[in-house]
Amino acid sequence: MASFRHLRSRLVPLLGPDIDTDQIIPAQYVNAAGTEALARALFRRLRDQNARFVLDRPEMAGRTVMLVGSNFGCGSSREAAAWALSAWGIRALIGRSFNATFSGNCLQNGLLPIAAPLEAHGALCEAIGAGADPEIAIDLERDRVEFTELGIAFSVGLEPFARELLLRGMDELHYLLDRRAEIEAYETRGGPLQ
């Protein structure tokens, strides 16, 4: 996994509450293989229904941060939702809140979900609604999210373990494989309820 240190981008705004993973990637594409197919599957139904859907606007090409609402990624636990976002080029999400399984899946894939404080999120949405197109700077090492043009800043707020893995480009598998002795000991003594 590539390490995540900092990035700068303008935002792909996709506001509204409770955007579920069936919308992010419809079930029939969950087993799509390859970056291109996954990127094409991202928000496929909404794009099919609306040629002006935000992802397909020319100015959005190359952007790496999506601005979302509350409870983003609710519903199905399909990890393909994170894969499709990554495949399209998204590396971080700024939202009010995320479904726990979804944000876990994002982190497994080096995609950073950032829950913005209520006031900052409100100000951001308002600015976007008024036509602003601000640049975001995320610095994971300094634990900082900044919108210099808007005077908005907050911390990334990631727990230390997840942050460390992202900074070092490590995945959880190696951490777990390193716990082998502990796992063997647990198996030998037998789970207390079994």
Binding site: S77, S97, Y186, E187, Q194
Partner: protein, 465 residues
């Protein structure tokens, strides 16, 4: 102190292999359930990394998400055949499409007695919460964590906050666990239990059979819960006794002694608490595109203006546009084109018996398609032995092969655009059952009554005395 410990705490501590400060806990998986929808990349990564499956004996696979249902002559998709091949390579028990134990993963786990009180159960599916109905610690995982569980039999987890939902009172006749959970979700919203382990208790829960408890825990996922729990009792033990993987003989006696300890302390310390009165619940139906956009079958669609925050109002308006419905429309004016009885929420034998009870001797309304999909081969056999298949087909319905079918529409079979689907499944999201399909979530009783009326119906009119 112990009296303040919750069931979740006990299960958590029993499965915690190790926990370093500032790190997530290493949690042991006693039962890893794998299905055809979400396994592929995990096995690819496992094999690329030249890793072995640590405990194939604790890993069980079934095919459910991608099976052709309506047209069984269609070839099996590569993900289905691929799962059988992957399991064969790694020595994992696989219940393929025609296997006598095949079925929806959350139906067969309990049915085979694999799911047991006190076990931790991991599965890459959001409705893994179902297994909590047995007092098992259910982990909803992603595909990368499937890899972790295959390679190490462990996953990394952060402890959830705990929520107690006490449900007292008796459900009225014709009102089911499905209606109860829809009523709870409608009242509290789809993020009410976000990040929480929910424990259901109270007299209404004690009165429920295991199928109803599974329906309740299944749909706790639609409250945003990370996991759901019901403390095991005599009904749990009666259900499990004699199942293929349930402990036998003296092992059974020993298991009972352990399982009886799986309760929350009288002063269990929960991070939040809700109370709900089962007596007040009517049969429910959803009118929108989240499970919280629901109403009683004797009510009308609320005006979006009556909904709280502006963001929610906008979401309600958008949902009504998608659904082609207007505020003030009564539930029983809502048309039905397709009726789907199935899914990990409501495809067990009790669900099919309930639906058949309404449909016996009646006909599906002209123009309505009824699709009944049993949750497993065992449910299919039982239903056929009881003559339920006959009831459904005589009424004009189709009888599908066991699988997830139209709940997730992952098999390429869709309800048509703008079709209204009265569905016993769990999600009414936009486009979930196919592009443009309009899902109305209901209980099996309401689904069956609606099939007869060709509109959403109050099933209480159809109940035999």
């Amino acid at each position: 102190m112990l009296a303040r410990t919750t069931l979740y705490d006990k299960l958590w501590e029993a499965h915690c292999v190790s926990h370093r400060p500032d790190h997530p806990a290493v949690m042991y998986v006693d039962l890893h359930l794998v299905h055809d929808g979400t396994y592929r990349r995990a096995f690819e990564m496992l094999e690329q990394g030249k890793l072995a499956v640590r405990r194939p004996d604790l890993t069980f696979a079934t095919t459910d998400h991608c099976l052709p249902i309506s047209d069984p002559s269609r070839p099996m998709p590569p993900v289905v055949t691929g799962l059988s091949a992957a399991c064969a390579r790694h020595g994992i028990s696989i219940y393929g499409p025609e296997h006598e134990r095949q079925g929806i993963v959350h139906v067969i786990g309990p049915e085979l007695g694999l799911t047991q009180p006190g076990k931790s159960v991991a599965c890459a599916d959001s409705h893994t919460t179902t297994h909590g109905a047995f007092g098992a610690l259910a982990f909803v995982i992603g595909t990368t964590q499937v890899l972790h569980a295959l390679a190490t039999q462990c996953i990394l987890q952060r402890r959830a906050r705990t929520m107690s939902i006490v449900i007292d009172g008796a459900l009225q006749r014709g009102v089911t666990a499905k209606d109860l959970i829809l009523a709870i979700i409608t009242r509290y919203g789809i993020a009410a239990a976000s990040g929480h382990a929910v424990e259901f208790s109270g007299s209404a829960i004690r009165a429920m059979g295991m199928e109803e408890r599974m329906t309740l825990c299944n749909m706790a996922a639609e409250l945003g819960a990370r996991t759901a729990l019901i403390a095991p009792d005599d009904r749990t033990l009666d259900y499990l006794h004699g199942r293929p993987f349930a402990p036998k003989g003296t092992d059974w006696e020993r298991a009972l002694a352990r399982w009886r300890l799986l309760v929350s302390g009288e002063d269990g310390r929960f991070d939040s608490r809700l109370r709900f009165d089962a007596c007040e619940v009517h049969p429910m139906v959803t009118w929108g595109t989240t499970p919280a956009m629901g109403m009683a079958v004797n009510a009308a669609i609320p005006a979006p203006e009556s909904v709280g925050a502006p963001e929610e109002r906008e979401a309600a308006e958008q949902a009504l546009r998608y659904m082609g419905l207007a505020p003030g429309t009564t539930a029983q004016e809502m048309p039905v084109d397709v009726v789907f009885i199935g899914s990990c929420t409501n495809s067990r034998i009790e669900d099919l018996r309930a639906a058949a009870g309404v449909l016996r001797g009646r006909k599906v309304a002209p123009g309505v398609r009824l699709l009944v999909v049993p949750g497993s081969q065992a449910v299919r056999r039982q239903a056929e032995a009881e003559g339920l298949r006959e009831v459904f087909t005589a009424a004009g319905g189709e009888w599908g092969r066991p699988g997830c079918s139209l709940c997730v529409a992952m098999n390429g079979e869709f309800a048509g655009a703008r079709k209204y689907v009265a569905s016993t499944s769990n999600r009414n999201f936009q486009d979930r059952q196919g592009p443009g399909a309009r899902t109305l979530l209901v209980s099996p009783l309401t689904a069956a009554a609606s099939a007869v009326d060709g509109r959403i119906a109050d099933p209480r009119r159809y109940l035999a005395d």
